[in-house]
């Protein structure tokens, strides 16, 4: 008889794999991808494909050249590519999108050891790099989605520019806001995957139902921004109306549901997650109200990413029956 396999228990495993989790995230992002394509035109779809392809290629080449195990099967590069694309204006030149993908995968993820070891969210960090690099050109060129909605045309960079709702909400700004219904459906100026709150919330519900994420981070993050906004509604808005505009604007939904919940760069325990999300909410609010940028979701998540090791240290679980340490 052949030798038997020896291993430490358990001898059965659940079917869940890293690739399976990532596939769930991809599925959860599909509604937003469809919404982005409907709202901003076919270029949104192609831009997403470009980001996904360049993220996967960057990961493959890095690992291949350094003779590391190939990990593109785990689909994490696909998630990064989709999230990066969703955080870009539809008119951004493709070469900039590719540059962002390379930054996300090589600089933020692989140089720190690959999946599980990066301290900051790759898509968020790459978005910020692009945002700062191309601040006054492609990264702030918002087209008017009422002109592209349902047209399925190629979104054109020459199209009339439009202000994002957040810019309009900024004190001292003129311009008009879309209706709240349009905000929910995403017919507003912004990045391709961030505007349709409805699609993002659908994806979020799917992720919570599949137990991929817990509700703590999205709910606390959004609720913090909502409650703080209630307190500072400027003249001309009711508190409720203003706070609702705030949570439906900009990258809050995609940030709270898909970016701040990234396992690697968020705390482990529920308490840690709540503290993390509170921090994200407060910083987002502060930047939106008092900062020089209209939007603060990316910065808030990146900043809180850096605090995760400390939050983890301060918020361990309480072992059942564990004696107090001397």
């Amino acid at each position: 008889m052949s030798k038997l396999t020896l291993s430490v228990s358990p001898h059965i495993r659940s079917r869940l794999t890293t690739g399976g989790i990532m596939l769930d995230v991809v599925i959860a992002l599909i509604p937003a991808l469809i919404a982005g394509t409907v709202i901003f035109g076919l270029r949104a779809l192609v831009l997403t494909a470009v980001c996904v392809a360049s993220c996967m290629l960057a990961e493959f080449l890095f690992e291949f050249i350094l003779k590391k195990p190939l990990t593109i099967n785990d689909l994490s590069a696909v998630v990064t590519g989709m999230l990066l694309a969703f955080n870009l204006p539809v008119t951004i030149p493709f070469w900039q999108a590719v540059l962002g993908s390379v930054i996300a995968i090589i600089v933020v993820k692989q140089l720190f050891g690959g999946l599980g070891l990066n301290f900051a969210n790759p898509a968020i960090t790459a978005r910020i790099v692009l945002f700062i690099s191309f601040a006054n050109t492609s990264m702030t060129h918002w087209i008017d989605p009422t002109r592209t909605f349902m047209s399925f045309n190629w979104a054109n960079a020459d199209m009339a520019a439009s202000a994002t709702p957040l810019a309009v909400l900024k004190p001292g700004s003129t311009g008009s806001l879309p209706s709240l219904m349009n905000m929910l459906l995403g017919i507003e100026g912004g990045c391709i995957g961030e505007t349709c709150a409805l699609a993002l919330i659908l994806g979020g519900i799917y992720l919570v139902a599949r137990k991929v994420i817990s509700f703590h981070i999205p709910v606390v993050f959004v609720a913090t921004v909502f409650v703080l906004s209630l307190l500072v509604a400027p003249e001309g808005y009711s508190s409720l109306e203003y706070a609702t505009y705030q949570i439906l604007s900009g990258g809050l939904m995609i940030g709270a549901i898909f970016m701040a919940t990234d396992y690697v760069t968020s705390p482990t325990t529920s308490l840690g997650k709540i503290i993390f999300a509170l921090g994200c909410g407060v910083i987002t609010f502060a930047i939106r109200i008092w900062g020089s940028y209209p939007e603060g979701v990316s910065f808030s998540i990146l900043f809180m990413n850096l605090l995760v090791p400390f939050i983890n240290k301060l918020t361990p679980t309480k072992p059942l029956g564990g004696a107090k340490a001397e």
Binding site: S9, R13, T17, P319
Partner: protein
Amino acid sequence: MLPKLNGVTLPHRKNTAKMPAVKMTPPRLVTIPMNMHIGAPAVPCVKPGDEVKVGQLIAEAGGFVSAPVHASVSGKVKSVAPMLASTGTEIMAITIESDGEMAISEDCVAPDITDYDSFIAAVRASGAVGLGGAGFPTAVKLDVKDTSRIEQIIINGAECEPYITSDTRTMIDDANLIAEGIELLKKWLNAKQVIIGIEKNKPEAIKAMSTLCDDTVSVKVLPSIYPQGGEKVLIYNCTGKIVPEGKLPIDVGVIVLNCTTLAFIASYVKTGIPLVNKLMTVDGSAVAEPKNVIVPIGTSMADVFDFCGGFKEEPHKAFYGGPMMGIAVPDLSAPILKNTNAIIALNKADSVLPEPTPCIRCGKCVKACPLKLMPVDFARALSVKDVEMLEKRKVNLCMECGCCSYVCPARRPLVENNKLAKAELRKYQAAKKEENK
């Protein structure tokens, strides 16, 4: 309402739940190790060539925390020599060649029990150990000196591991023995409250045990969330009590006894036949005819599998106990032990070792841990030998139930990590103690 403890939902695979145990034909040879319990190994008191009968003492308890060992077949002692145990260490074992008679020793007479002390002495002489799998000498557990300390006795019928149905069959087929066992507990340990904890996936066993309920005896139906049978989990779910670190259940007024252990004690008190047979489940994807079998202790796994129709597929892995905590064996010569409640053999596909991928810090291991530990932190602390972190995060409390490894999407060997981390911590604490001296 108590806050719920975490755990995992497992496939039940209780294929043998409806099969009453059948008695195995006696094997030609049995190999009985001396360390079938926690504590000091038993000390052989026979030599090669001696004639022995079933139930005859062949090794005496090696200390207070120990248990005597008895012959499981009649025949001739072939050898008293070290063997390689499944743990990888050498252990003394007595090999007996069976004469096929299964003649019962004249020493087997019902013990004379008149008081608490003689009850404990009888349990000690019976060779009883925790039959749920832990193998802790039962007499030591029951020897609480002052029975007024006992507030509750929990009968563990949770049987939370997949495949295993031996406790289920005991509760159904030997309900009368459990009833007699409970009477013994009432009489000699002054048991004021007896709780029989059973997972809800065993309706027949729950029905059988419910017939025993009275003012002192109750059945607690537990959710089918692994590991309900873990001692601390069971105590919490049956009484709401938490056993503090470094303490025993009796320190919170609780004794936990496995239902099969209790049935055995009742049978011993009646017949005087010590622990020489074991009811166990034989199952797994490689086994031709899964069964519940009553097997003489020391029978080789190979003989038991043969009795169950051999293999329908070549076995690539075999282990004692269930798939969550079972101990894998290098070959099928491994003997059945006192605390063996199942032997499982898996086919090639089920034996493939998972390929670990990088930890993505999803925290699923933390959410699965019934004791609220953080395996993700243990793994990281172990990799950088941060023993103080291991101590702070209480890796010592880990009972190695397997939930963390089971759920890990990156297929990381978390239980293995925890075992290594516990060993590392023990080394560190021993060194610290030495320093303080």
